[in-house]
């Protein structure tokens, strides 16, 4: 009979490999899902996306506009690759860079006292000032960046095209 475990690691760390593969799968789906959804929400609203990047006042006005136009599609592409588990390491590196950029942007806005909100608000019979949730956003994006960093280091996971096609 063929020995199916021809390529498995020596016994003892097979369990560890499997656990890390599960962690990789989770990281892939979390980061990929978040990026894909974020991209899909913005891809039909180029003006909104452009203004969102301009609001951080980190890039020159027109550069920020163009970045805003392209960002949703980049998110969709990177998110899709992660969900499929194809070119996982490369997609993870890009995804991490994106998340770090957001962390830097939010931190900078917070430090400069910018109040960034998109759209308008109002309700409850009173006029409320803009509510910024910087700490929460920073924590969230840092977590996603960690998922990406982990995958960049160890892109192996279950249910991925990388594994199916390339035995990764």
């Amino acid at each position: 009979m063929v020995d199916d475990d021809v390529r498995s690691a020596p016994t003892g760390s097979a369990g560890r490999e499997r656990a890390l593969d599960w962690a990789g799968t989770l990281a892939r789906l979390i980061l990929g899902g978040v990026l894909l959804i974020a991209g899909l929400l913005k891809v039909g609203h180029p003006g909104q996306s452009a203004r969102a990047v301009q609001a951080y006042q980190l890039l020159p006005f027109d550069v920020a506009r163009l970045v805003g136009y392209g960002l949703p599609l980049v998110e969709i592409i990177v998110g899709s690759l992660l969900i499929l588990g194809l070119l996982t390491r490369g997609a993870a590196v890009l995804g991490t860079m994106l998340m770090l950029a957001f962390v830097i942007g939010i931190s900078s806005a917070w430090a400069r006292g910018l109040a960034i909100d998109c759209g308008c608000f109002g309700g409850g019979g009173q006029i409320e000032p803009a509510k910024t949730a910087y700490p929460l956003e920073l924590a969230r994006d840092s977590l996603f960046a960690l998922c990406g960093a982990y995958l960049s280091w160890r892109p192996r996971s279950f249910f991925s095209l990388d594994r199916r096609w390339y035995g990764n």
Binding site: G47, Q48, L66, C120, G122, A130, Y166
Partner: protein, 254 residues
């Protein structure tokens, strides 16, 4: 492997094991990974660049729709509209609003008449920055159309009246906006009749001030205003929480 004569299925599975061993570590079921990476990278770059170019083209096209005439009383592109004639030394109140914004409608309901009083008395320099970003959120053109209607009314000195009427008639359903008929009715109610109304109708249909409207949205982005309503007193953000007319008057006039 067995040295003596193997059974047929043993030979097949033995061969499979050999193939697996030989292809271990290289691609076995999928296309060449370098080719895949190259193709994906190329397609991605082309797609993103193309997408940026198309969006930029659309934005440029939208920004050059309509006419580039400045409304009466406005000195340059991107400049806000001053309501009334302010006295010398009057404090400056910058109001950033979008006609479709419910929060702005609320602001106008609670403090609108106070602002109007300040503007018409000249005690305060009231400057309206009319934003149209909600058109993108609601995927329509209602904010631009309302803005165009208001600035066409400005040409006959009726911006304030038109502005107040549009806010007083905000639809309950966000994004529904106003029809051309409704806006024409407001123009009449604002005091535009006869030749003045004809001039307004021509101005509105040709969107004579549209490029000014676009320039004002861009200017507000540069001013760092990202939500509405935003009110600034002498350049500093004014917090409107729980402010009634009396508190507002005190904050602005001291």
């Amino acid at each position: 492997m067995a040295k003596n004569q193997p059974a047929p299925q043993d030979a097949v599975s033995a061969r499979q094991a050999k193939i697996q061993q030989a292809t271990k570590g290289t691609h076995r079921g999928g296309p060449n990974p370098l080719v895949i990476a190259g193709v994906i990278a190329l397609v991605a770059i082309v797609a993103v660049v193309g997408f940026v170019v198309i969006n930029n083209k659309n934005a440029t096209k939208a920004a050059s729709e309509g006419g580039s005439a400045l409304p009466k009383g406005v000195s340059a592109m991107g400049q806000p509209f001053v309501r009334g004639t302010p006295k010398a030394g009057a404090p400056t109140l910058d109001i950033y609003e979008d006609f479709q914004c419910p929060g702005c409608g609320q602001f106008e309901r609670i403090l609108g008449s106070t602002v109007k009083e300040m503007a018409t008395s000249g005690d305060v320099q009231v400057r309206y920055h009319v934003m149209t970003f909600l058109d993108d959120n609601f995927q329509g053109k209602n904010s631009s159309r309302a803005a165009n209607a208001a600035f066409c009314a400005a040409d006959d000195g009726k911006f304030g009246e038109m502005h107040d009427l549009i806010y007083a008639n905000q639809p309950t359903q966000e994004g529904k906006g106003w029809t051309d008929e409704q806006l024409t009715t407001f123009a009449g109610q604002a005091g535009l009749t006869g030749a003045a109304l004809d001039a307004w109708t021509t101005c509105y249909q040709k969107q004579d001030h549209n490029q000014y409207v676009v320039s004002m949205q861009d200017a507000t982005s540069k001013d760092g205003v990202t939500s509405t309503p935003t009110v600034r007193l002498n350049g500093k953000d004014l917090t409107l929480t729980r402010m009634d007319a009396a508190a507002f008057k005190k904050a602005v006039l001291g």
